[in-house]
């Protein structure tokens, strides 16, 4: 790496280094108990330990599986329902009010009922992830399809495109950026919901792992678990953006944050 490149990386990432340095200083200064706020080195050792023992990977796999299962179900159902709502006036009139009225209601309150219906295991968590992710995905698919310019549809029809072709070649590509914006909102939600449900009560998964470690006063291990969740959240988001940029090659540059 040349020095100009190094300088550019430093110029961009120095705040992260600053925050980490502040943490390390606080931890080593003794102002805060070292057990409550372990040094980065201790967290690193705990992380390596947990990775070697394999239990971090085990719990991460379980959380990841639950989050992705619910997210995948919600993607399929949400896009289908959203598209159907945009295509049919009847379905729109029936479903749109239900979605918009229940959107601001915290679905997590239903978790105890989900436990009764779907059991204490993974299924109740997957279904709650599904329900929470369904909203942004459905609503974005619906608005995305509604936003398509009528002129484009007319132009395609005029050039002899069939209903099916109009859908696949005009409507779907035009709605795709908005649909992906919905997926990008839903993906972190899926992780949040899984972690929350695992914190509330479970014996597997990263939410449990972190809760158990901090309840046993092993804060370095807890931070190793938090680091794992952070890494998973970050990598999933980057992966989704990469998929989006491949599929929607004509519109570059999803903003790094937000959007």
């Amino acid at each position: 790496m040349d020095s100009a490149g190094a300088r550019r990386i430093l110029a961009r990432w120095y705040p992260v280094a600053l925050v980490l340095a502040a943490w390390e200083l606080l931890s080593r200064s003794g102002a805060v108990s070292k057990r409550l706020m372990p040094s980065l080195a201790d967290i690193g050792v705990a992380l390596v330990d947990a990775l070697q023992q394999g239990d971090l990977a085990f719990h991460a796999g379980i959380s990841l599986g639950r989050a992705l299962a619910g997210f995948a179900l919600a993607t399929v159902a949400g896009v289908l329902v959203g598209v159907a709502m945009a295509r049919s006036r009847l379905l729109e009139a029936l479903l749109e009010p239900v979605f918009s009225f229940t959107y601001p209601v915290p679905k997590i309150a239903l978790y105890p009922i989900f436990i009764f219906v779907f059991g204490l295991g993974s299924l109740s968590k997957v279904m709650l992830v599904f329900l929470e992710c369904l909203y942004p995905i459905t609503i974005n698919a619906y608005y995305g399809m509604r936003q398509v310019q009528q002129v484009h549809v007319w132009a395609a029809r005029n050039m002899g495109a069939s209903e099916r072709q109009v859908f696949r070649r005009v409507l779907l590509p035009a709605a795709a950026p908005t649909i992906f914006a919905g997926l990008r909102i839903a993906l972190p939600i899926s992780l949040i919901v899984v972690i929350i449900t695992e914190i509330i009560g479970e014996s597997r998964g990263l939410g449990y792992y972190i809760t158990y470690a901090s309840a046993s006063f092993e804060y370095a291990t807890a931070f190793a678990g938090i680091a794992a969740v952070a890494a998973i959240g970050f990598v999933l988001d980057r992966l989704l953006v990469a998929v989006r940029n491949r599929l929607i090659f004509w519109q570059r540059g999803a903003a790094f944050i937000g959007a």
Binding site: F116, Y135, I139, P188, I196, I199
Partner: protein, 264 residues
Amino acid sequence: MASPTAEYSQAQRLLLGLSLPVLALIAWELCARFMTLPSYLIAPSAIAATTWDMALSGELWRHADASLARALAGFAIGAAGGVGMGLLAGIARPVEHFYEPIVSLTYPVPKIVVLPVLVAWLGAGDASKIAVIAAGVFYPTFINALYGAKAVDRLHVWSARNMGASVVQVFFKVVLPSALPQVLAGLRIAFALSLVVVVAAEMQSSRSGLGFLIITAEDNIRFDLMYAAIIAVALAGFGGDRLLVHLRRRLLVGQMVGREGEHG
């Protein structure tokens, strides 16, 4: 994209919109009366009666009050920091450059993961819950305020400066009003989030609040109580959201660009 079928009238839309929930409620009520449903599916009429009784006795208010106090405290702290820093980052490059890598790294991370550690640091009381809510609220408010302030028309800023406005005046008379729609959109997302987090945190460890009520009612197999608490959570979420939409309408008189009463 308009489909070729006929538009529904306002009355028809209302009727169709109500039809599914009402049908579901009637079906549920009938099933509960004439069939044996699983014990957790008690009749809507019984749920309504319990909810009403608890609202009258004040028990529901006590728990709702505890939850809302926590949610609003976290919301206020997180939103003050998020909106303030977001607007500042939107007008000052160095501030944006400072926050950008930190926020983009931690944005996709569920902030709730730090709850167990915060409980260890701050105790299982209100402080840890308020702190995790504030952390969650910071992100959507920061990002929306940042983009709102960045999208301010340069020409407006230049004109104001040209006519002798001070930096402070430019901020309050130009940047803030034009970023306001985006800021309010961020607040709306953040409010919904603060309720989710408070209920979850109360389910995990608490001695009051609606989340606590839901969990204890479930443990004691008092399903009517559990549903009453769930209804209260739903009403809080819905009511708060309506309030923010109303506030937006009042504040943004003359610049309502989006659809009126748009949800989502």
